[in-house]
Amino acid sequence: MNKIFAIGKVVLLEMYRRKDFYVLFIVTALITAVMGSVTFFKDEQIVRYLKAICLFLIWASSLFIAIGATARQIPAERESRTIFPLMAKPVSRAQVLLGKFLGCWLACGAALVIFYAFFGCVAAAREHQWPLANYFQAWSLHWAMLGIVVAMTLFGSLVLTAVSSNITITFIATIAILLVGRHLHQVALTMSEPSAIMITSLYYVIPHLELFDMRDLIVHDWPLIPWGIWFIALVYAAAYSALLLLLSWLVFRRKVLQ
Protein backbone atom coordinates (compact mmCIF):
# COMPACT_ATOMS: atom_id res chain seq x y z
CA MET A 1 0.00 0.00 0.00
CA ASN A 2 2.91 2.36 0.79
CA LYS A 3 4.10 2.16 -2.81
CA ILE A 4 0.65 3.09 -4.11
CA PHE A 5 0.46 6.05 -1.72
CA ALA A 6 3.99 7.16 -2.69
CA ILE A 7 3.06 7.19 -6.40
CA GLY A 8 -0.22 8.95 -5.59
CA LYS A 9 1.66 11.62 -3.62
CA VAL A 10 3.92 12.35 -6.61
CA VAL A 11 0.81 12.79 -8.80
CA LEU A 12 -0.61 15.24 -6.24
CA LEU A 13 2.67 17.16 -6.06
CA GLU A 14 2.74 17.46 -9.84
CA MET A 15 -0.77 18.90 -9.93
CA TYR A 16 -0.03 21.24 -7.04
CA ARG A 17 3.01 22.61 -8.86
CA ARG A 18 1.37 22.97 -12.24
CA LYS A 19 -0.22 26.36 -12.90
CA ASP A 20 -3.02 25.46 -15.33
CA PHE A 21 -5.38 24.15 -12.66
CA TYR A 22 -5.11 27.38 -10.71
CA VAL A 23 -6.30 29.25 -13.80
CA LEU A 24 -9.32 26.95 -14.06
CA PHE A 25 -10.12 27.46 -10.39
CA ILE A 26 -9.74 31.26 -10.55
CA VAL A 27 -12.03 31.49 -13.62
CA THR A 28 -14.68 29.30 -11.95
CA ALA A 29 -14.40 31.21 -8.68
CA LEU A 30 -14.66 34.58 -10.41
CA ILE A 31 -17.78 33.58 -12.36
CA THR A 32 -19.34 32.07 -9.22
CA ALA A 33 -18.58 35.21 -7.20
CA VAL A 34 -19.95 37.54 -9.89
CA MET A 35 -23.10 35.46 -10.32
CA GLY A 36 -23.57 35.38 -6.58
CA SER A 37 -23.32 39.11 -6.20
CA VAL A 38 -25.81 40.04 -8.90
CA THR A 39 -29.56 40.39 -8.39
CA PHE A 40 -31.42 40.47 -11.69
CA PHE A 41 -34.71 42.38 -11.80
CA LYS A 42 -34.75 42.42 -7.98
CA ASP A 43 -36.06 38.86 -8.18
CA GLU A 44 -34.87 36.78 -5.25
CA GLN A 45 -35.96 33.57 -7.03
CA ILE A 46 -33.32 34.24 -9.66
CA VAL A 47 -30.82 32.85 -7.17
CA ARG A 48 -31.87 29.33 -8.22
CA TYR A 49 -30.76 29.97 -11.78
CA LEU A 50 -27.50 31.48 -10.58
CA LYS A 51 -26.89 28.42 -8.42
CA ALA A 52 -27.67 26.12 -11.34
CA ILE A 53 -25.19 27.95 -13.56
CA CYS A 54 -22.48 27.95 -10.87
CA LEU A 55 -22.94 24.23 -10.20
CA PHE A 56 -22.79 23.55 -13.94
CA LEU A 57 -19.48 25.41 -14.02
CA ILE A 58 -18.20 23.33 -11.11
CA TRP A 59 -19.18 20.14 -12.92
CA ALA A 60 -17.53 21.24 -16.14
CA SER A 61 -14.34 22.32 -14.32
CA SER A 62 -14.17 19.10 -12.35
CA LEU A 63 -14.48 17.07 -15.56
CA PHE A 64 -11.70 19.12 -17.17
CA ILE A 65 -9.48 18.50 -14.15
CA ALA A 66 -10.26 14.79 -13.90
CA ILE A 67 -9.90 13.99 -17.60
CA GLY A 68 -7.09 16.48 -18.35
CA ALA A 69 -4.91 15.40 -15.44
CA THR A 70 -5.47 11.66 -15.75
CA ALA A 71 -5.03 11.46 -19.52
CA ARG A 72 -1.48 12.80 -19.19
CA GLN A 73 -0.27 10.46 -16.46
CA ILE A 74 0.93 7.30 -18.22
CA PRO A 75 1.71 8.87 -21.64
CA ALA A 76 3.75 11.64 -19.97
CA GLU A 77 5.68 9.05 -17.95
CA ARG A 78 6.45 7.17 -21.16
CA GLU A 79 7.24 10.29 -23.18
CA SER A 80 9.57 11.80 -20.58
CA ARG A 81 10.83 8.27 -19.87
CA THR A 82 10.42 8.71 -16.11
CA ILE A 83 8.60 5.37 -16.17
CA PHE A 84 11.92 3.53 -16.62
CA PRO A 85 13.61 4.40 -13.32
CA LEU A 86 10.25 3.87 -11.63
CA MET A 87 9.54 0.45 -13.13
CA ALA A 88 13.13 -0.62 -12.43
CA LYS A 89 12.15 -0.56 -8.75
CA PRO A 90 10.25 -3.41 -7.06
CA VAL A 91 6.88 -2.02 -8.03
CA SER A 92 4.27 -3.86 -10.07
CA ARG A 93 2.34 -2.35 -12.94
CA ALA A 94 -0.86 -2.78 -10.94
CA GLN A 95 0.63 -0.64 -8.15
CA VAL A 96 1.65 2.05 -10.66
CA LEU A 97 -1.90 2.12 -12.06
CA LEU A 98 -3.48 2.25 -8.62
CA GLY A 99 -1.06 4.98 -7.52
CA LYS A 100 -1.90 7.08 -10.57
CA PHE A 101 -5.63 6.51 -10.02
CA LEU A 102 -5.39 7.39 -6.34
CA GLY A 103 -3.38 10.57 -6.99
CA CYS A 104 -5.76 11.84 -9.67
CA TRP A 105 -8.86 10.92 -7.72
CA LEU A 106 -7.63 12.58 -4.52
CA ALA A 107 -6.71 15.70 -6.49
CA CYS A 108 -10.26 15.77 -7.90
CA GLY A 109 -11.67 15.37 -4.37
CA ALA A 110 -9.54 18.24 -3.06
CA ALA A 111 -10.54 20.47 -6.00
CA LEU A 112 -14.21 19.65 -5.37
CA VAL A 113 -13.89 20.56 -1.66
CA ILE A 114 -12.57 23.98 -2.67
CA PHE A 115 -15.23 24.46 -5.35
CA TYR A 116 -18.13 23.40 -3.11
CA ALA A 117 -16.83 25.40 -0.13
CA PHE A 118 -16.54 28.51 -2.28
CA PHE A 119 -19.96 27.91 -3.80
CA GLY A 120 -21.39 27.35 -0.31
CA CYS A 121 -19.99 30.67 0.90
CA VAL A 122 -21.39 32.58 -2.07
CA ALA A 123 -24.79 30.86 -1.76
CA ALA A 124 -24.89 31.41 2.02
CA ALA A 125 -24.20 35.12 1.53
CA ARG A 126 -27.44 35.28 -0.46
CA GLU A 127 -29.65 32.77 1.34
CA HIS A 128 -28.25 32.91 4.89
CA GLN A 129 -28.36 29.13 5.29
CA TRP A 130 -25.85 26.26 5.26
CA PRO A 131 -27.42 22.97 4.07
CA LEU A 132 -24.24 21.08 4.97
CA ALA A 133 -25.70 17.58 4.63
CA ASN A 134 -26.92 18.43 1.12
CA TYR A 135 -23.52 19.74 0.19
CA PHE A 136 -21.89 16.62 1.62
CA GLN A 137 -24.13 14.30 -0.39
CA ALA A 138 -23.61 16.31 -3.58
CA TRP A 139 -19.84 16.49 -3.07
CA SER A 140 -19.38 12.80 -2.17
CA LEU A 141 -21.47 11.52 -5.08
CA HIS A 142 -19.78 13.95 -7.46
CA TRP A 143 -16.39 12.70 -6.23
CA ALA A 144 -17.45 9.06 -6.61
CA MET A 145 -18.58 9.79 -10.16
CA LEU A 146 -15.18 11.35 -10.89
CA GLY A 147 -13.63 8.07 -9.72
CA ILE A 148 -15.33 6.33 -12.64
CA VAL A 149 -14.26 9.11 -15.01
CA VAL A 150 -10.64 8.93 -13.79
CA ALA A 151 -10.56 5.13 -14.21
CA MET A 152 -12.14 5.46 -17.66
CA THR A 153 -9.53 8.06 -18.70
CA LEU A 154 -6.71 5.90 -17.35
CA PHE A 155 -7.99 3.01 -19.47
CA GLY A 156 -8.18 5.33 -22.49
CA SER A 157 -4.60 6.49 -21.93
CA LEU A 158 -3.40 2.90 -22.29
CA VAL A 159 -5.49 2.09 -25.35
CA LEU A 160 -5.18 5.34 -27.30
CA THR A 161 -1.76 6.59 -28.34
CA ALA A 162 -2.33 10.34 -28.35
CA VAL A 163 -3.26 12.24 -25.18
CA SER A 164 -5.46 14.63 -27.15
CA SER A 165 -7.53 11.83 -28.68
CA ASN A 166 -8.00 10.25 -25.25
CA ILE A 167 -9.15 13.57 -23.76
CA THR A 168 -11.55 14.19 -26.64
CA ILE A 169 -13.05 10.70 -26.70
CA THR A 170 -13.39 10.40 -22.90
CA PHE A 171 -14.91 13.86 -22.66
CA ILE A 172 -17.45 13.13 -25.41
CA ALA A 173 -18.28 9.74 -23.86
CA THR A 174 -18.76 11.30 -20.41
CA ILE A 175 -20.96 14.11 -21.70
CA ALA A 176 -22.95 11.66 -23.81
CA ILE A 177 -23.57 9.39 -20.82
CA LEU A 178 -24.58 12.37 -18.66
CA LEU A 179 -26.97 13.72 -21.27
CA VAL A 180 -28.51 10.67 -22.96
CA GLY A 181 -27.45 7.69 -20.83
CA ARG A 182 -30.75 7.46 -18.99
CA HIS A 183 -32.81 7.59 -22.20
CA LEU A 184 -31.03 4.83 -24.10
CA HIS A 185 -33.48 2.04 -23.26
CA GLN A 186 -36.39 4.24 -24.33
CA VAL A 187 -34.61 4.98 -27.60
CA ALA A 188 -34.13 1.22 -28.06
CA LEU A 189 -37.92 0.70 -27.91
CA THR A 190 -38.34 2.78 -31.07
CA MET A 191 -35.73 0.82 -33.01
CA SER A 192 -35.81 -2.47 -34.90
CA GLU A 193 -33.51 -5.43 -34.25
CA PRO A 194 -30.55 -5.78 -34.06
CA SER A 195 -30.07 -2.08 -33.26
CA ALA A 196 -32.57 -2.28 -30.40
CA ILE A 197 -30.72 -5.06 -28.62
CA MET A 198 -27.41 -3.26 -29.12
CA ILE A 199 -28.70 -0.02 -27.64
CA THR A 200 -30.37 -1.89 -24.76
CA SER A 201 -27.09 -3.72 -24.06
CA LEU A 202 -25.26 -0.41 -24.13
CA TYR A 203 -27.74 0.97 -21.60
CA TYR A 204 -26.88 -1.83 -19.18
CA VAL A 205 -23.13 -1.74 -19.82
CA ILE A 206 -22.30 1.95 -19.50
CA PRO A 207 -21.75 3.48 -16.08
CA HIS A 208 -24.73 5.74 -15.41
CA LEU A 209 -22.91 8.88 -14.36
CA GLU A 210 -26.16 10.87 -14.31
CA LEU A 211 -27.16 8.99 -11.13
CA PHE A 212 -24.54 11.00 -9.27
CA ASP A 213 -25.82 14.39 -10.36
CA MET A 214 -27.21 16.02 -7.21
CA ARG A 215 -27.29 19.58 -8.49
CA ASP A 216 -31.07 19.84 -8.23
CA LEU A 217 -30.84 18.86 -4.59
CA ILE A 218 -28.92 22.07 -3.90
CA VAL A 219 -30.57 24.35 -6.44
CA HIS A 220 -34.13 23.62 -5.28
CA ASP A 221 -33.29 22.92 -1.61
CA TRP A 222 -34.81 19.45 -1.88
CA PRO A 223 -34.61 17.06 1.06
CA LEU A 224 -31.69 14.68 1.36
CA ILE A 225 -31.72 11.40 -0.54
CA PRO A 226 -31.94 8.36 1.78
CA TRP A 227 -28.49 7.42 3.10
CA GLY A 228 -29.03 3.82 2.00
CA ILE A 229 -29.43 4.96 -1.61
CA TRP A 230 -26.41 7.22 -1.21
CA PHE A 231 -24.36 4.25 -0.02
CA ILE A 232 -25.53 2.01 -2.89
CA ALA A 233 -24.52 4.73 -5.35
CA LEU A 234 -21.03 4.80 -3.80
CA VAL A 235 -20.76 1.01 -4.12
CA TYR A 236 -21.93 1.28 -7.75
CA ALA A 237 -19.18 3.84 -8.46
CA ALA A 238 -16.58 1.69 -6.69
CA ALA A 239 -17.58 -1.38 -8.72
CA TYR A 240 -17.34 0.45 -12.06
CA SER A 241 -14.03 2.09 -11.11
CA ALA A 242 -12.64 -1.32 -10.09
CA LEU A 243 -13.83 -2.88 -13.34
CA LEU A 244 -12.21 -0.15 -15.44
CA LEU A 245 -8.99 -0.39 -13.43
CA LEU A 246 -8.97 -4.15 -13.99
CA LEU A 247 -9.33 -3.60 -17.74
CA SER A 248 -6.50 -1.03 -17.60
CA TRP A 249 -4.28 -3.50 -15.80
CA LEU A 250 -5.01 -6.22 -18.37
CA VAL A 251 -3.82 -3.84 -21.10
CA PHE A 252 -0.85 -2.44 -19.14
CA ARG A 253 0.58 -5.65 -17.71
CA ARG A 254 1.86 -6.94 -21.08
CA LYS A 255 2.66 -3.58 -22.65
CA VAL A 256 6.22 -3.29 -23.94
CA LEU A 257 7.98 -0.31 -22.40
CA GLN A 258 10.72 1.05 -24.60
Binding site: N2, K3, F5, A6, I7, K9, V10, L13, E14, R17, R18, S80, R81, T82, F84, P85, L86, M87, A88, K89, P90, V91, S92, Q95, R254, V256, L257, Q258
Partner: protein, 263 residues
Protein backbone atom coordinates in the same frame (compact mmCIF):
# COMPACT_ATOMS: atom_id res chain seq x y z
CA UNK B 1 31.10 -17.65 -6.75
CA UNK B 2 27.34 -17.09 -6.75
CA UNK B 3 25.47 -16.15 -9.90
CA UNK B 4 23.72 -12.79 -9.63
CA UNK B 5 22.33 -12.40 -13.13
CA UNK B 6 21.55 -15.10 -15.64
CA UNK B 7 19.80 -15.24 -18.98
CA UNK B 8 18.98 -18.50 -20.76
CA UNK B 9 18.38 -18.62 -24.50
CA UNK B 10 16.78 -15.21 -24.40
CA UNK B 11 14.88 -14.33 -27.56
CA UNK B 12 13.09 -11.04 -28.09
CA UNK B 13 11.08 -10.13 -31.16
CA UNK B 14 9.33 -6.89 -31.93
CA UNK B 15 6.30 -7.07 -34.17
CA UNK B 16 6.58 -4.94 -37.28
CA UNK B 17 4.12 -2.11 -37.76
CA UNK B 18 4.23 -2.69 -41.49
CA UNK B 19 1.69 -5.07 -43.01
CA UNK B 20 3.11 -8.54 -43.79
CA UNK B 21 6.54 -7.58 -42.52
CA UNK B 22 8.42 -10.11 -40.40
CA UNK B 23 8.97 -9.41 -36.72
CA UNK B 24 12.36 -7.89 -35.94
CA UNK B 25 14.58 -10.17 -33.89
CA UNK B 26 16.25 -7.99 -31.25
CA UNK B 27 17.86 -10.84 -29.30
CA UNK B 28 18.38 -14.43 -30.39
CA UNK B 29 19.26 -17.08 -27.85
CA UNK B 30 21.35 -14.88 -25.58
CA UNK B 31 23.03 -16.60 -22.65
CA UNK B 32 24.67 -14.39 -20.03
CA UNK B 33 26.01 -15.07 -16.57
CA UNK B 34 27.24 -12.43 -14.15
CA UNK B 35 28.90 -13.49 -10.92
CA UNK B 36 28.79 -11.73 -7.56
CA UNK B 37 31.36 -9.00 -7.03
CA UNK B 38 32.47 -8.46 -10.62
CA UNK B 39 32.24 -5.44 -12.86
CA UNK B 40 30.77 -6.79 -16.04
CA UNK B 41 31.09 -4.82 -19.27
CA UNK B 42 28.28 -5.26 -21.76
CA UNK B 43 29.40 -4.06 -25.19
CA UNK B 44 28.01 -3.90 -28.69
CA UNK B 45 27.40 -1.45 -31.51
CA UNK B 46 24.21 0.60 -31.69
CA UNK B 47 21.24 -1.68 -32.31
CA UNK B 48 23.10 -4.77 -31.10
CA UNK B 49 20.51 -5.47 -28.38
CA UNK B 50 22.20 -4.05 -25.27
CA UNK B 51 19.33 -1.85 -24.16
CA UNK B 52 16.80 -4.58 -25.08
CA UNK B 53 18.69 -6.99 -22.81
CA UNK B 54 18.63 -4.46 -19.99
CA UNK B 55 14.92 -3.86 -20.66
CA UNK B 56 14.26 -7.59 -20.31
CA UNK B 57 16.27 -7.73 -17.08
CA UNK B 58 14.20 -4.86 -15.68
CA UNK B 59 10.88 -6.34 -16.77
CA UNK B 60 10.09 -3.65 -19.37
CA UNK B 61 10.02 -6.17 -22.21
CA UNK B 62 8.75 -9.75 -22.09
CA UNK B 63 10.94 -12.20 -24.04
CA UNK B 64 9.43 -14.35 -26.78
CA UNK B 65 11.26 -17.35 -25.32
CA UNK B 66 13.97 -18.09 -22.81
CA UNK B 67 14.25 -16.74 -19.30
CA UNK B 68 16.14 -14.19 -17.25
CA UNK B 69 16.87 -14.28 -13.55
CA UNK B 70 18.16 -11.77 -11.01
CA UNK B 71 19.34 -13.39 -7.78
CA UNK B 72 17.63 -16.56 -8.97
CA UNK B 73 14.22 -14.88 -9.25
CA UNK B 74 12.40 -14.59 -12.57
CA UNK B 75 12.70 -10.96 -13.73
CA UNK B 76 8.96 -10.82 -14.42
CA UNK B 77 8.38 -10.70 -10.67
CA UNK B 78 8.77 -7.20 -9.18
CA UNK B 79 10.55 -8.62 -6.13
CA UNK B 80 13.48 -9.56 -8.43
CA UNK B 81 14.25 -5.82 -8.57
CA UNK B 82 14.41 -5.38 -4.78
CA UNK B 83 18.21 -5.66 -4.67
CA UNK B 84 19.16 -3.85 -7.86
CA UNK B 85 19.93 -0.25 -8.74
CA UNK B 86 19.43 1.07 -12.26
CA UNK B 87 20.86 4.13 -13.94
CA UNK B 88 19.39 4.76 -17.41
CA UNK B 89 21.38 6.14 -20.32
CA UNK B 90 19.74 9.54 -20.05
CA UNK B 91 18.46 11.14 -16.90
CA UNK B 92 14.72 10.87 -16.78
CA UNK B 93 13.36 12.18 -13.51
CA UNK B 94 10.33 14.17 -12.42
CA UNK B 95 11.34 17.76 -13.11
CA UNK B 96 8.72 19.14 -10.71
CA UNK B 97 10.35 17.40 -7.73
CA UNK B 98 13.41 18.43 -5.78
CA UNK B 99 16.31 15.98 -5.67
CA UNK B 100 15.48 15.21 -2.04
CA UNK B 101 11.81 14.55 -2.81
CA UNK B 102 12.85 12.24 -5.65
CA UNK B 103 15.14 10.18 -3.42
CA UNK B 104 12.52 10.06 -0.69
CA UNK B 105 9.95 8.83 -3.23
CA UNK B 106 12.21 6.04 -4.47
CA UNK B 107 13.16 5.18 -0.87
CA UNK B 108 9.45 4.68 -0.13
CA UNK B 109 9.12 2.40 -3.14
CA UNK B 110 11.86 0.26 -1.58
CA UNK B 111 10.03 0.32 1.74
CA UNK B 112 12.51 2.68 3.41
CA UNK B 113 11.15 5.40 5.65
CA UNK B 114 11.91 7.49 8.70
CA UNK B 115 15.41 7.81 10.16
CA UNK B 116 16.85 5.03 8.01
CA UNK B 117 15.75 6.77 4.80
CA UNK B 118 17.01 10.16 6.09
CA UNK B 119 20.40 8.70 6.93
CA UNK B 120 20.76 7.02 3.56
CA UNK B 121 19.64 10.11 1.64
CA UNK B 122 22.15 12.29 3.54
CA UNK B 123 24.94 9.81 2.79
CA UNK B 124 24.07 9.66 -0.91
CA UNK B 125 23.96 13.44 -1.34
CA UNK B 126 27.40 13.55 0.24
CA UNK B 127 28.63 10.78 -2.06
CA UNK B 128 27.48 12.56 -5.22
CA UNK B 129 28.42 16.07 -4.01
CA UNK B 130 24.92 17.51 -4.16
CA UNK B 131 24.32 18.46 -0.53
CA UNK B 132 23.95 22.15 -1.37
CA UNK B 133 21.46 21.57 -4.19
CA UNK B 134 19.28 18.87 -2.65
CA UNK B 135 16.27 21.17 -2.16
CA UNK B 136 16.35 22.61 -5.67
CA UNK B 137 13.88 21.47 -8.32
CA UNK B 138 15.41 18.96 -10.74
CA UNK B 139 14.51 21.14 -13.72
CA UNK B 140 17.18 23.61 -12.54
CA UNK B 141 19.93 20.95 -12.54
CA UNK B 142 22.68 20.70 -15.17
CA UNK B 143 23.13 17.42 -17.07
CA UNK B 144 26.06 16.40 -14.87
CA UNK B 145 24.09 17.12 -11.71
CA UNK B 146 21.13 15.13 -13.03
CA UNK B 147 23.40 12.18 -13.77
CA UNK B 148 24.70 12.34 -10.19
CA UNK B 149 21.13 12.38 -8.87
CA UNK B 150 20.61 9.37 -11.12
CA UNK B 151 23.47 7.58 -9.43
CA UNK B 152 22.11 8.51 -6.01
CA UNK B 153 18.67 7.09 -6.86
CA UNK B 154 20.31 3.93 -8.23
CA UNK B 155 22.05 3.47 -4.87
CA UNK B 156 19.11 4.36 -2.62
CA UNK B 157 18.41 0.73 -1.67
CA UNK B 158 22.10 -0.13 -1.17
CA UNK B 159 21.84 -2.55 -4.12
CA UNK B 160 23.82 -5.74 -4.57
CA UNK B 161 23.67 -5.34 -8.34
CA UNK B 162 24.01 -2.03 -10.13
CA UNK B 163 22.83 -1.89 -13.76
CA UNK B 164 24.31 1.07 -15.60
CA UNK B 165 23.23 1.83 -19.16
CA UNK B 166 25.94 4.04 -20.66
CA UNK B 167 26.38 6.01 -17.44
CA UNK B 168 29.03 8.44 -18.72
CA UNK B 169 27.31 9.26 -22.00
CA UNK B 170 27.41 13.01 -22.57
CA UNK B 171 29.28 13.83 -19.36
CA UNK B 172 32.31 16.11 -19.11
CA UNK B 173 35.67 14.59 -18.00
CA UNK B 174 35.03 15.59 -14.37
CA UNK B 175 31.60 13.96 -14.43
CA UNK B 176 33.07 10.79 -15.94
CA UNK B 177 35.76 10.65 -13.30
CA UNK B 178 33.15 11.02 -10.59
CA UNK B 179 31.04 8.21 -12.05
CA UNK B 180 34.13 5.98 -12.32
CA UNK B 181 35.04 6.72 -8.71
CA UNK B 182 31.56 5.75 -7.58
CA UNK B 183 31.63 2.53 -9.61
CA UNK B 184 34.98 1.65 -8.06
CA UNK B 185 33.65 2.42 -4.59
CA UNK B 186 30.63 0.20 -5.22
CA UNK B 187 32.95 -2.60 -6.36
CA UNK B 188 35.12 -2.18 -3.27
CA UNK B 189 32.01 -2.74 -1.19
CA UNK B 190 31.70 -6.13 -2.89
CA UNK B 191 28.75 -5.19 -5.10
CA UNK B 192 28.25 -6.33 -8.69
CA UNK B 193 28.09 -3.86 -11.57
CA UNK B 194 26.52 -4.60 -14.96
CA UNK B 195 27.90 -1.89 -17.16
CA UNK B 196 26.85 -1.08 -20.73
CA UNK B 197 29.03 1.46 -22.51
CA UNK B 198 30.50 2.68 -25.79
CA UNK B 199 33.51 4.15 -23.99
CA UNK B 200 35.83 1.21 -24.55
CA UNK B 201 38.82 2.83 -22.83
CA UNK B 202 36.70 3.24 -19.74
CA UNK B 203 35.46 -0.36 -19.93
CA UNK B 204 39.05 -1.54 -20.26
CA UNK B 205 39.97 0.35 -17.09
CA UNK B 206 36.99 -0.58 -14.98
CA UNK B 207 35.64 -4.00 -16.01
CA UNK B 208 36.71 -7.43 -14.81
CA UNK B 209 34.98 -9.24 -17.65
CA UNK B 210 33.26 -8.17 -20.85
CA UNK B 211 30.76 -9.53 -23.31
CA UNK B 212 30.43 -8.27 -26.88
CA UNK B 213 27.10 -8.78 -28.61
CA UNK B 214 26.09 -7.99 -32.14
CA UNK B 215 22.78 -8.43 -33.98
CA UNK B 216 21.23 -9.83 -30.83
CA UNK B 217 23.74 -12.64 -30.33
CA UNK B 218 26.76 -13.12 -28.12
CA UNK B 219 29.97 -12.79 -30.13
CA UNK B 220 32.75 -12.79 -27.55
CA UNK B 221 33.13 -13.12 -23.82
CA UNK B 222 36.04 -13.05 -21.39
CA UNK B 223 38.58 -10.95 -19.53
CA UNK B 224 39.86 -7.95 -21.50
CA UNK B 225 43.46 -9.22 -21.43
CA UNK B 226 42.39 -12.67 -22.63
CA UNK B 227 40.33 -11.24 -25.47
CA UNK B 228 43.20 -8.98 -26.57
CA UNK B 229 45.46 -12.03 -26.65
CA UNK B 230 42.89 -14.23 -28.36
CA UNK B 231 42.28 -11.76 -31.18
CA UNK B 232 45.94 -10.78 -31.41
CA UNK B 233 45.29 -7.09 -30.98
CA UNK B 234 46.55 -4.31 -28.70
CA UNK B 235 43.35 -2.93 -27.24
CA UNK B 236 39.74 -3.70 -26.48
CA UNK B 237 38.72 -1.28 -29.23
CA UNK B 238 40.49 -3.39 -31.84
CA UNK B 239 38.93 -6.55 -30.40
CA UNK B 240 35.54 -4.89 -30.59
CA UNK B 241 35.99 -3.88 -34.23
CA UNK B 242 37.16 -7.36 -35.19
CA UNK B 243 34.32 -9.07 -33.36
CA UNK B 244 31.59 -6.96 -34.94
CA UNK B 245 33.14 -7.65 -38.34
CA UNK B 246 34.39 -4.15 -39.09
CA UNK B 247 37.73 -5.65 -40.08
CA UNK B 248 37.91 -8.77 -42.22
CA UNK B 249 39.04 -11.54 -39.95
CA UNK B 250 38.47 -15.25 -39.87
CA UNK B 251 37.20 -15.23 -36.31
CA UNK B 252 34.62 -12.48 -36.64
CA UNK B 253 31.06 -13.72 -36.40
CA UNK B 254 31.82 -16.83 -34.39
CA UNK B 255 31.19 -16.73 -30.66
CA UNK B 256 34.47 -16.87 -28.77
CA UNK B 257 34.84 -17.54 -25.07
CA UNK B 258 38.11 -16.89 -23.34
CA UNK B 259 39.49 -16.51 -19.84
CA UNK B 260 36.97 -16.62 -17.02
CA UNK B 261 34.37 -19.10 -18.06
CA UNK B 262 30.71 -18.97 -17.26
CA UNK B 263 29.85 -20.03 -13.75
Amino acid sequence: MSVILKTEKLRVEFASREFRQKAKVALSSLDLTVNAGEIFGFLGPNGAGKTTTINVLLGFVTPKSGAAYLFGIDVRQPIARQRIGYLPEMTYYYKFLTAEELLRFYAKIFGLAGAEADKRIDRLFKLVDLEQARRRLLKTYSKGMQQRVGLAQALINDPDLLILDEPTSGLDPLGRMKVREIIQRVKNEGKTVFFSSHELGEVETVCDRVVIINEGALKAEGRVSDLVQKYQTHSLEQVFLKVIGYETTSSAGAPVTTGASKA
